[in-house]
Every structure is written in structure tokens, then in C-alpha cells.
Symmetry: C2
Subunit: 438 residues, 2 copies
């Protein structure tokens, strides 16, 4: 029937005859015919045995997952010819604390109750929310109670939920940093928000240009991709501005020279929606983050989260709560921070040696460097990044993250590679960018 | 400053003086003032020391999570006075296979690679998708390749993604079963779909009444809440109907008397969007499910999933893949099925003894029974359920799941309780429903 050899109206062989042909008991054939009948593909007709009445669906169109993902601008595989992928945003995944995670999960599963595993609070497991407020208060100055926290599937989902609620409030414009995160802009666009770029300089977003926008998305502690910290004066301007501040605290755990500046949220909890996640501290594949928003938004945010997925998976939430409570999360972060600092220093030193005309922007923090290439003439940074790619090293041209044109630069992620590989990468970048014949 | 005792313009004490007062080194105070300055709350003014320039946000409105959840119709806690919660939809969470899950997770974490934990394919981990197509083909007759599967945060998210894609195609009406799942209807409404109820009788949804609806949501293998199986004739009508069939295969693992009828998807893969999850087989708190949709919808579905959460968490996906590959998932299901069958039999027997006027609807499957109470006069089933609640037993009145009025009934979940507790519940239900003085 699936192959089309039996069409509706055709008679199936008598059960006794088919059973004999196939060498099986008649009961097996009767059962098979019953299944076909139950599925609506055949019917027993008095006097004429079992007759075909339907046809399973025909051949399906071809699938090409890679093309589909490319259409969605989701380059999930490293391009051919690249052996050193220094795209920004990916942490050192080999550092994932497997032992501590498994130990915490065993503890969690030993004491988990039925209600922990049932349909839960869409805002997240209470145990995790209460650990998070302690952690965020201590490390980031966030002011919140456990019930202020909505556990999310990461910053991207936090943006999706906020966009849905803002749309419900009649807001459809968000100011974003330029240069800034292209992923965040794409995300907001899917949820119907128009984004306007606001220039970023050495003090962070030009908050004096926000004017009457209703909402602004910023990375105040460590701007992506420039690495600058929002200056005290700009923070003051921002806190006096009446719109909703969406604070993406994406890598605040990774400051190497001093404690990071506190979150804006602590200065204005009813004006700031604060977003964070474990994507840079544990792994992006955890899809686990948090949102602390002004209280007037809470009912609508919980409705949005419930309609999106009914809430985050329970077990990983409880495991993170256990890691926070045991101090294992903090120990892990300390070790990772020390390792990333050494990697940053290694890349920085090697770039100074191999790329003397470049200037490294931003503070000692994060998982990537921005290298400004003003000294490289008028060549667009997309072309410079292609030359680097031809040497097997993948980096992002700064212009990928820009809306308005600006000086050329390269965004180079260092977190995923040991110092010797980073020195190798810097050497190849230096070779690739040295003008021919020099 | 937070308490309002220091206002903008006020001078902070000199660092030396405050250090002496507090008995700390001056460096500590200097650092603290620097933090306040960085945060925009204070500024160093030449000649006048450090001056307050901002004020942290004032007191926030009160939070009442329980009221918020009640407004959203999410009753997450058992009401006062209930000691036997027999609400439908919750599996036996004490049966969660902790040992097998932890063992599989150890295996997964031993061999997990960086790319497994990075930003992955929004459609899900390839390893899980390929295990799922084997499993769904074998147990449900689903026809799919691994790339047809979108791993979701459960059936609710599958509906959310489908609704977004349907809206993009200009479809905003979905036919649903009446009675049917109220949760599914609420979910579709959030995403902008109007739902129209189509009557359900002893053969399932009246597919002859679908007419020119563009999409229909059904539970063909075991209708919720009536427990009937969609008849062969109705399946044929449905397969000849041109709209999109959304097949919620919510508890197909739980048929006790024979193999469940195959999924409709296998008969028409380009016309059916098939939804399933581990909510009834493992736990709702896993938030892990799957969607197999017509191929024309795939790019839009992946875009919606990406914009929603970038994809499901990686580790639980890989653990489920391991459980499917090892056979542990199938062994778990067999054990659970046997236990549920005994519980169903226990409840059924006790109800026959204590509630002789009632009629139990549906086939031997699932996690709940529908008890029809035509013999109980004109009393609405909401009143009958209240009488039962007064005896400490929570059940759902059938009318909660109805759009149009119909005969009274009670939907009684049995999965979460052992046979003796179910017998106790049936006894109390019988007492509560016996007419006074009889």
C-alpha cells in the first residue's frame, strides 16, 4: 500500500491464504489486518474480505538541514579549512565540571520529591531561585527576592519573554548598542521589535542619545564586542532616563584585574530587567539563565514563560542550586577565571609581537578581544578576516556586529584554546595581515 | 543612600575619617567609594571630596507569587483539606528511574565533547533525534528521518511553535476536541489562535464536522479526557480532509490491553504534525518532547525554536538518547505500564463497588478514568466534585474540560497512588456522592 501497488478498492488476500504463503499463524495475519483496519487503511467488507480503503502518505520532499540552518544564519559547523576557530562567545567547554555536576545530580536525585518533578512553577524551582538571589546579590549587587527571579533557557529566551511583554505594553522599539550583539538584535526582531543602534564609544553606549526610546538593551559591565565598561557618568544618565533598561550581564564572571562593576539593577530594580545565564560559566548547551525584572512585569512574564515551555527542566535547575549551595560553582568559576586570564595574556602578548600596528580595546575581562586595525589602511575588516581565514584561523570582523560603518577591527575569542594554540593563531593572523612585500 | 538618609548633593565622610570610625584600613574605604563612583551613585569633586550623585531604587511593590499564579490559572499547590489528589495528568513520579538516569548521565558526561555543549542545532542533539526516529517508528509507526525531528520542551512548546508557524501562514483557527484538554486550548489562545470545539463521541472527534477548518488538534490514540480511540472510519475521514492534523500522542505508551493503534502521522507524514513527550513516561518536569511536522514547515519551525530558546538543553537530550539506546527506557516503560494497569484495575473495581450507578468510559489505557454520572440527576459535576473535595479527594469535573454543556462526569487520575489509596479514594467518592438519606 505504501509503495502504491495496492490502491483503494483492491482486495487483500484471505487471511488463511496469506498466512500459508508467509508461513506464519493465521492469528498474526488477522492481527495485522485489524491494525490496518484500525488505522483506516483497510476495511472488512461482508462477502469480499478485507479491502484497501486508504493509502499511506506518499514520498516526502527532501530534507537539507545544513541549508535550512544556513538560511537561518546559524553556522553550526566550522567552515572547511579552519583549524583554529576563534569565534567569540564560546567558553572553554573542556572545563565543564563533570565530576561536580554528577555529584550534585546524585545528591539531587537522592532527595528529589514527586512535586519537584511534576508540572512546576513556570518561574522556576524555588530552591534555585533562592540560591540565585543570594549569589547575584553577593557577586553582582542585584536586589531581588526569590520570587523576583524567572529562570529562563538563557539570555536569548529572557529577551524573547521581555519582547513579548513589551509588545503587550505597546512598546515595539528597543535601542541597542552599535556595535553590539547581532544575535540579540536578530532575536528581538523575531519577536516583533524594531531595534535602533546607539553609538558606543570608550565610555560605552552614548546614553545621551537615548532620548525618548521606550527600552534599551545594554551590556554595561563589559560591552560586547568592544569590551568597554559603561562609565559612571553614562550610568547616571541612564538611571535618570525613564525607559526600561535591559541589562545583559553576559560575562560578568570573567573580569581578571579587579571586581566587576556592580549591576545597574541594584541601583534601580523597578527600572531594570536584568539578564544572566550559565552559558559563559558552564556551557551554552545548558540553556539555563535568569531574568530579574521590574515587578509590574512579573505576571505577564510568567504567562509568557508558561506559554513558551511551562518552565525550565527541573533536574538541571536543582543541580545548579546544589552547585551554588555547595560552593562548587564558585570554585569552578575561580579556576576558569584564572585559566582565561592566562589565555588572554598569552593572546595579548602574541598579538603585540605579531601585529604591532593593532590596538586592543576594552578592559581585562571576558572571553574575547577586540583588535582595532586603524593602521591597516582602507581595507574592510571583512576582507582582513577572509585573509585570516585563508590561514586557517576563524575570527569575526567587527563590522559583522556593526550597523553603521566604522574603523576596521577583529573580534577574537580566546577562551576555547590553550596559550600555545593562541600564540600560533596570533602568528598566523600577523602573517595574514602583513601587507604583501613588507 | 538606599535608605534615603543621604540624598544627591550630600557629601560622604572623608575616607581617612570613615576608615578610623569603622576600624578598617583606608584602602577599603577608598575602594568602596570607587565602587559607588563606578556605579554612578557618587562622584569625586575637587575640593569637596566625594559627593552623592544618585540614589539606588526605592522600595519595590510587594510580590505575591501565589496570587500571580492563581490569576494565570496555574494551581500549583494542592488545595487545603485535600489528602488524596487524583487530578488527571500526573504520572507516578516516585517511579522516576533515578539509577538508570544517573548511570546514563555518567556515560554521557564521560564522552561528551565541546561541540555537544556549545550552541547547538536548534532542532536538537543529532544523537537524540536519530534514536527517537527509531523508537517512534517501532512503537508508533511514525515515518521520519532524524532531521524531521524538532526536540521541544514538551507538547506545550510543540503547540506554541506550531501556532507561531501557522500564524505566519495566515492560519489563526484550530479545531479542538470538545471535551478536550483545557491546557492545550489556553496554550493555543496565548499564541493568537482561535479554537473551535468539535464534539467527541464514542468514536472520537466528529471529523465529519471539521469542514473547512485549516488545522485540527486531536488525541487519536486515547482521547483526553474521554479515553476513546479514534475509529477507523473517522481516521479515514480525517486523512481525506485537507487541513493540518496536529496529533497529540500524549500517553500512547500507556495502553494495557493491546498495542495502541499506530500514529496517524505514519499514514500521512506531510499532513500531520506529530507531538509527543516524556511527561507521562518519565516526568513532566523533564520538559522534553518532540515534534515531527510536514517538511514544508521545517525552516519556520526551526526559526521559531531558535528564537524561543536556541534549542533544548544538551545534557538531558543526550541522557534520553542513551536510555533509548541501552533499552533502559523501554524496560522502564514496561514496568510502569504494568504498575499503572494494576492501579487502573484497582480503581475500576473499587468504583464499581462504591459507585454502582456510574459508567466508566474509554479503553484500558492512560493515567486517568472518566466516570460518567448520568444516574446522579441534574446536579452539575462541579457540585459533585466539590462534594468529593469536601471528603479530601481532588478530581476534575468533566465540565472543566468541556466547552458545550453535556452529561456530568468526573475525571480521576490514578497513576500517582497505590491500589489501597485508590480504594480508599473510591470509597470516599462513593460516600460523597450517595444522595443524602440513602
Amino acid at each position: 500500500m505504501a509503495a502504491g501497488r495496492l490502491a483503494p478498492g483492491d482486495r487483500l488476500p484471505a487471511t488463511r491464504q496469506l498466512a500459508a504463503e508467509l508461513g506464519v499463524s493465521r492469528g498474526v495475519v488477522v492481527q495485522a489486518y485489524q491494525r490496518l483496519t484500525d488505522e483506516g487503511l483497510a476495511a472488512a467488507r461482508t462477502g469480499s474480505g478485507t479491502v484497501v480503503t486508504g493509502r499511506p502518505g506518499t514520498r516526502r520532499p527532501a530534507l537539507d538541514r545544513r541549508r535550512t540552518l544556513d538560511e537561518l544564519r546559524l553556522p553550526l559547523s566550522t567552515p572547511d579549512g579552519i583549524d583554529l576557530n576563534l569565534s567569540p562567545g564560546v567558553p572553554d567547554l573542556s572545563a565543564f565540571p563533570r565530576t561536580a555536576w554528577l555529584r550534585a545530580e546524585r545528591t539531587v536525585l537522592d532527595r528529589v520529591t514527586g512535586s519537584d518533578l511534576g508540572y512546576g512553577d513556570p518561574g522556576g524551582a524555588p530552591g534555585l531561585r533562592s540560591q540565585l538571589v543570594g549569589w547575584l546579590s553577593r557577586t553582582r549587587g542585584v536586589r531581588a527576592e526569590a520570587d523576583d527571579v524567572v529562570v529562563t533557557a538563557g539570555v536569548a529566551q529572557g529577551l524573547a519573554l521581555l519582547a513579548q511583554v513589551l509588545r503587550g505594553e505597546g512598546v515595539s522599539d528597543v535601542a541597542v548598542e552599535d556595535p553590539g550583539s547581532r544575535g540579540a538584535t536578530d532575536q528581538l526582531a523575531y519577536w516583533g521589535m524594531r531595534t535602533t543602534g546607539v553609538a558606543v564609544d570608550d565610555e560605552g553606549m552614548r546614553t545621551d542619545l537615548l532620548a525618548d526610546a521606550a527600552a534599551a538593551l545594554l551590556t554595561p559591565a563589559h560591552q560586547f564586542p568592544t569590551g568597554v565598561v559603561l562609565s559612571p557618568g553614562r550610568r547616571r544618565t541612564l538611571l535618570a532616563w525613564p525607559g526600561l533598561i535591559i541589562e545583559d550581564d553576559y560575562d560578568a564572571e570573567h573580569r581578571y584585574d579587579r571586581s566587576p562593576v556592580a549591576a545597574l539593577q541594584g541601583s534601580a530594580p523597578e527600572r531594570v530587567a536584568y539578564l544572566g545565564s550559565v552559558s559563559k560559566s558552564l556551557a551554552p548547551g545548558m540553556r539555563l539563565g535568569w531574568l530579574v525584572a521590574p515587578r509590574r512585569m512579573q505576571t505577564a512574564l510568567l504567562a509568557a514563560k508558561h506559554a513558551t515551555d511551562l518552565g525550565n527542566p527541573a533536574v538541571p535547575q536543582l543541580v545548579l542550586a546544589e552547585l551554588l549551595a555547595s560552593g562548587d560553582y564558585e570554585r569552578h568559576l575561580r579556576a576558569v577565571r584564572e585559566r582565561q586570564r592566562r589565555r588572554r595574556d598569552a593572546l595579548l602578548g602574541a598579538l603585540r609581537a605579531h601585529l604591532p600596528g593593532a590596538r586592543v580595546a576594552g578592559v581585562a575581562a571576558g572571553l574575547h578581544l577586540l583588535v582595532m586595525l586603524e593602521g591597516y589602511g582602507d581595507t574592510p575588516d571583512t576582507v582582513l578576516a577572509e585573509r585570516v581565514a585563508a590561514a586557517g584561523v576563524m575570527v569575526h570582523p567587527l563590522s559583522w556586529h556593526r550597523r553603521r560603518p566604522g574603523p576596521p577591527g577583529l573580534v577574537i575569542g580566546y577562551a576555547a584554546h590553550p596559550p600555545d594554540r593562541l600564540a600560533e593563531a596570533a602568528g598566523r593572523i600577523g602573517m595574514a595581515l602583513s601587507p604583501p612585500g613588507r
